[in-house]
Amino acid sequence: MKEAQIELTHVKKYFEITKGIIKQKKTYVKAVDDVTMTINKGEIVGLVGESGSGKTTLARVILNLTKPTGGTVIFDHVDLSKATKQEKKEFHTKVSVVFQDPASNLNPRETVQSSIMRPLVIHGVPKAEAREKAKETLDMVKMDQRYLNSYPHQLSGGQLQRIAIARALAMNPKIMILDEPTSALDVSVQAQILNLLLDLQEKFNLTYLVITHDLNVIRYISDKIAVMYLGRLVEFGPTEEVTQNPKHPYTQGLMAAAPILDPHLRGRKEYIMKGEPGSLVNLPEGCHFHPRCPFATDRCKTTAPGGYLLSDEHKVACHLCEQEAVGIDREVFPDSTK
């Protein structure tokens, strides 16, 4: 039995916007709308979706950088909303994050060494020990010790990303959240970073949540793929099933849109999704995807689909899959009669 590292139940994050000066009207941007998923220990989960689908907001909720509007985040059996100060502090040593643009998340006036040491010092590791640890982590990301005294502007994009990964590793985290880790990098450097991430994952049995819009990268690196559309999780399952046999019409459109890296396979895509993702402010009733969905029925326009289980690990939120489903995710729909 796989052990859960992070359990998200009904996680919601709404941002309030007020319109009008005299007659104030409150509306909500539902950046994350009822997401329920479990990330197991040692798994690499890829989170994909178009821009504005709530991927990064979900990551921020998991990182406890922003408080969810509703729902619970359970990390290692500890409910973060009820955690004590001590537990929270401990949590922050176990979760680390690597952002997209490595140049902007390293302090330009600090050397590589002090950047890596900073989280250690904050968490009370003695300086001498932290210095040793910085050297050690630099080794882990396969960079030479001579870079310890370099400043960010002296390094290339790939090297900066290695430093960012080294800093994330310094606290011996259990889970790493990688927000677009290779988007800013060239193909040859991207390959180096992906290989490095996989090596580290194997070595330390880390759990990754990789956020990216590059479907080729996701297919290469992840064990499971979660697809988000306008704040909701529409499909979640093992990589092979989701990429080769996507069930949700949105996933199908997304997979068809991904450029295939083989000219012999060009022109095979019949189905190119029409339209553009709507706005998170005026969300449609029912299934969020129905205005773009070629298979939408009347039911889709009124009722939001639940999580249908196609297998133990493959979950889809689409009415069309009801017939095939072997069950429904009770956690998602406790009141359902099926």
Binding site: E50, S51, S156, D186, V187, S188, Q190, A191, Q192, L194, N195, L198, H213, L215, N216, V217, R219, Y220, I221, T239, E240, G253, L254, A256, A257, A258, P259, I260, L261, D262, P263, H264, L265, R266, K269, I272, M273, K274, G275, E276, P277
Partner: protein
């Protein structure tokens, strides 16, 4: 079909920098035929945009030295006067850029901006507006008439790029230069724009020069490909030549670095080392310091571009090429 539209001969571009010259493009040669989609692909800083910009002389003035010939329809654009170039820009060669918001004026409606280009050709205003609407429909803009009266900030990224394409096509150029046209867009929108570019090529017969770092786009729509590395075109050929039988070690290794498989099937190939400084005019292949097959000769002599087949050219000393697969 095989008519030549643009031929670049031994194009070199040097930028003046503090300690001498930076050779951004060195001895580039290729040709684009009518109705062809020609992709220049390479990593950042390899000089692909420099080539595109030098064709229309859009590079910052007084800062660069352009050598070589840029033959467009039998005329050398590098020797042309500013006035002659004025007649080529937009009318015969159109260009779209990565971020359409940078190219659109925020205080005019998008339709007005498209119309402006048409009016240059001395077409009456009313007819011009009809043409704008027609172009909006051609680029599959939903709700064309209303969108023509929208300001840039009211449109999404995909729609803005459609406006740019409409603006270019309105003057019916022979060649469209697209510099990273979809990099700022989501994959689903990217697929729509790619399909549009392809359709327009088929309908209007516009040749397209596609500048990109994304091999996915190349595989998807290009007919011919030039692979660039550190200012040099290292290999040219049909898209099948490049993807099936890459001959230059750089293109070969890059093909192996693309994430085309899952991690269960193995690890990606990486290319060690980094791009050399382009300021020194040292002879030798610029890839030599990273090339696993480099011999002494590669460090001392400049390799010439060599013809392998009717369509396939490579700049490498290795006789048989390399097949790292």
């Amino acid at each position: 079909m095989n008519e030549e539209l643009l031929r670049i001969d031994n194009l070199s571009v040097d930028y003046k920098v503090r300690d001498g010259f930076l050779s951004a493009v060195k001895n580039a040669s290729f040709e684009i035929r009518k109705k062809e989609i020609f992709a220049i692909v390479g990593e950042s800083g390899c000089g692909k945009s420099t080539i595109a910009h030098s064709i229309l002389r859009l590079l910052p003035e007084h800062n660069e030295i352009i050598k070589g010939q840029i033959m467009f329809k039998g005329k050398d654009l590098n020797q042309a006067t500013e006035k002659e170039l004025e007649a080529v820009r937009g009318k015969q060669i159109g260009m779209i850029f990565q971020n359409p918001l940078d190219s659109l004026n925020p205080v005019y409606t998008t339709g007005k901006q498209v119309e402006e280009g048409i009016l240059i050709d001395k077409i009456p205003r009313e007819e011009a507006w009809n043409r704008v609407i027609e172009m909006y429909k051609d680029v599959k803009m939903p709700d064309a008439e209303r969108r023509a009266k929208s300001y840039p900030h009211e449109l999404s990224g995909g729609m803005r790029q459609r406006v740019m394409i409409a603006m270019m096509l309105a003057r019916d150029p022979n060649l469209l230069i697209a510099d990273e046209p979809t990099t700022a867009l989501d994959v689903t929108i990217e697929a729509q724009i790619l399909r549009l570019i392809k359709q327009l090529r088929d309908e209007y017969g516009t040749a397209v020069m596609l500048i990109t770092h994304n091999f996915g786009l190349v595989a998807e729509i290009a007919d011919y490909v030039a692979v660039m590395y550190a200012g040099m075109i290292v290999e040219t050929g049909t898209v099948y030549d490049i993807f099936d039988h890459p001959m230059h070690p750089y293109s070969s290794l890059l093909m192996k670095a693309l994430p085309r498989m899952t991690k269960k099937e193995g690890r990606l190939t990486t290319i060690d080392g980094s791009v050399p400084r382009l300021t020194s005019d040292k002879p030798g292949c610029r890839f030599a310091n990273r090339c696993p097959f480099a011999k002494e000769r590669c460090f001392n002599e400049d390799p010439d571009i060599r013809k392998i087949s009717e369509t396939h050219n490579v700049r490498c000393f290795l006789e048989k090429g390399v097949d790292v697969r």
